[in-house]
Amino acid sequence: MTTQPVMPEPYVTVIGLEVHVQLQTQTKLFCGCSTRFGAPPNTQVCPVCLGLPGSLPVMNRAAFGLAMKAALALNCRIAAFTKWDRKNYFYPDLPKGYQISQYDLPFSADGWLEVADPKGAFARKVGIVRVHLEEDAGKSMHDEAVGTADSRIDLNRAGTPLCEIVTQPDLRSPQEARAWLNELKLLLVYLGVSDCNMQEGSLRVDANVNLHVPCPDGRIAKTPIVEIKNMNSFRSVERALAYEAARQYDEWQATKAELGKIPKQTRGWDDPAGVTRAQRHKEESSDYRYFPDPDLVPVTVSDAQVADVRAAMGEPPAVLRQALAERWRITAYDAEVLVNQGRELVAYYEDVATRVADGKVASNWLQQDVLRTLNERGGMIDTFAIRPEALADLIGRVQKGDFDTSRGREIFAEVLASGRSVADVVASLGIAAVGDDELVALCRELIAENPKIVADVQGGKEQAAAGLIGQAKKKNPNVNPGKVRQMCLDLIRGR
């Protein structure tokens, strides 16, 4: 069997994303209703978010501040003057018949967020066209039961603050799009801007994609742009984009249709079937008749306000990765693994590292033991049973040479299983430090019992000493294998 060399694709995939993120505010964007998820339908509503006649919106300053935080973290320019516009369309979950949004003067624009190259080579800046603030619509729930076709509307979500983030078409592969989304999510979660929970709808992604195909004559042909909707996870974003790129290439080969020759198409991702499907033409073309909302006054933002938000922002993940690597002398890779787990895990890590005064060792324990356990069992670091001081206690004992790392792992597992303290577990397992005299006596015994190994070592095969360690462990499980090995070698050579 021969391995096929990996052929590069005969085209470049060009991707831009449109991300909607719900802001983590206590109350809605234009009224005082709670934004809590999961309440019984239509219990978090008032005349304003129900759009009752005579009701008026009043901007939630906290939401605006949070949106500014997101925009600043995305390196956007904050507009000194911004306004609200109405986007008019009819839908039952849109009680006013229009959505309050921002049209030609978004509160922020012209930013970027770096994404690590999925192949690990270098980071690339992905441009951000604009970030604007708008209110969410309610939810329609369609009853699919046979014989009834009732639709019910829950307006709890109506009026929840949403940030719309629009990227430049700077992404070049489905994997890169997914990696960028992961980075965006991490950033927004770090800043406390959003919980980015896709299942609860607090993060939604649409993607625009087309291909740049080099032609034999040297020209680059561009295929028509397709907008993909209905993607419910970052994994489906990647799959949908990969499917769509392949589909567009097939279509290009069949039709040679280029950008601008046919209108922009919207396709929905069918996750179980793994395909995109064209949506009805009617749903695509809308004239939203945007105009400035006369119920709201424009918002002016001073440099001082921007500075305040910036000062209160905290370290974004990219900065933290670098800081962590420098502070604890760990590799960029280790810093990335730790930071990508979230702010709480980084705090846990730094606590342990400080206590044991060794970032590298702490990082190893975090990655190999703590994270593995969390991955296997689920759960969050802030409720993890072994607290930083306990883990530091355990690592400290290994550092002192009380026992080796593998014995330490056994203790880790026992502490986790029993909920007892490290000291208790050490005592109950009969783990006690082996004294020097005891160790010398034990090694002499081993040497006396294993003339063949001694001869091999004397003959230059040092690795033969490994055979003594297993026997030592049988005689006394508390011995440190490294020390046994060294002592035995010393004794054999000293002879």
Partner: protein, 521 residues
Amino acid sequence: MQPAELSATEIVAAVRQGDLTAVRCTEAFLDRIARLDGSINAFLHVDREAALATAARIDERRRAGKPIGPLAGLPVAVKDALCTADQPTTCASKMLAGFRPPYDADTVARLRAADAVIVGKTNMDEFAMGGSNENSAFGPVHNPWDLARAPGGSSGGSAACVAADMAPVAIGSDTGGSIRQPAGLCGITGLKPTYGRVSRRGLVAFASSLDQIGPMARSAADCALVLETIAGHDPGDSTSLAADVPHYTELLDQPLAGLRIGRVPEHYAAGLDPEVRAGVDEAFAVFRTAGATIVDVELPHAKYGVPTYYLVAPCEASSNLARYDGAHYGVRAEPGKGVRAEPGKGVRAEPGKGVRAEPGKGVRADEFASPLVEMYCRSRGEGFGPEVKRRIMLGTYALSAGYYDAYYAKALKVRRLIRQDYLEAFERVDLIGGPVSATPAFRLGEKTGDPLAMYLVDLYTVATNLAGVGGISFPCGFTKGGLPIGFQLQGPALAEPTLLRAADRFQRLTDWHTRRPKACA
């Protein structure tokens, strides 16, 4: 003491002193409503029991020596465009038939807190769109001075009920003249305050950037009294002004000496009725006698007021009225049943239960993209009257892609020029005077076939709203046929004290505002 013959100021004083009970006063006006409104149709809803119960509580508090509010015992009629928590609020539209809002408008809440007694909701043009009150889904209002004539609009019910002494004061709203024009045609005093002076919260929106609530009464002094209660900043209305509220009633006494009143030559263009012109000229003479100087000023862009208004207002209205979709409240079209009112039934859409259009009844079912669209079209088609539909279509068209710049954006530019005209004029004069309407009250039905002629009834009033400033209208004479002639004063932003003081001074020197229609004796 006949309560109907007292001014609002006198009623409040009499109740406070114990010379008149709130119950007796309220009863007297309710009795007049019962006797007269059958022929005038000024009220859409009167809640006699609730009004008397409120009045009784006020009397009880006064007798017990407890504090009572500044408007204690004063009956007030409220335009049906303002939400009242305990009464239907329909905007004179079938679309909102039976709708009872769960909250009071800010103005209504302030009136209640001041111990005013809300006697009822007044008739109006549907969604405040009109200048004759003939666009009400519940029948036109008849002008008390001549029942065959229109009272003006859109606050026609509020104007007529005050003119007929069915309430000492009423609340109106003015988007392009809807307080001042009917006040002028009904011989009463109506104030449109500066945009943002009175909160719009709870006023069912017509054109949000133009709408303003104001008092309508028999005199400027009574308007001042009511404005003191309803004006003020409301954190629930982002466009409401934060400026302090002056004691308007205490500022009335200052003489007018030195006041400069502008006179706009364009106001005397063709179409101005000669009797109205004579009345307006006499009014200027009265102001001159009072010590004011009259100065000619120009408002060069005023002539674009009506076209500008008829773009800005319908554009905003087309969006403001989108919420009446049959899905959430108000009426929903059902098969073969016309419209059904569903007040306060929570939210629920029933696209699947879509209505079937019947043959020969206009739209065919297969013309609808979906049952949902059919529900929207049927509900809106049957719930709105023709003028509302006309303006929704005008606004929707003017905001559409490809037309926005030519219509809406251009209208906003002209609006800025009009505002600039006013700013410049008010550097030279304190107030601007002139006619309210080109003609006295016209006959019911006279203009209903000609929407453009109807739009011109706002000729002298729309620019005030476009500029966001204030205006007051009051009677300055009568035609030979016995119809009131209105005079209008406009002032710069927050010049309500000057507007009220000038109108009050005029009313101390004349008695036009004390005349009563014979039919309503």
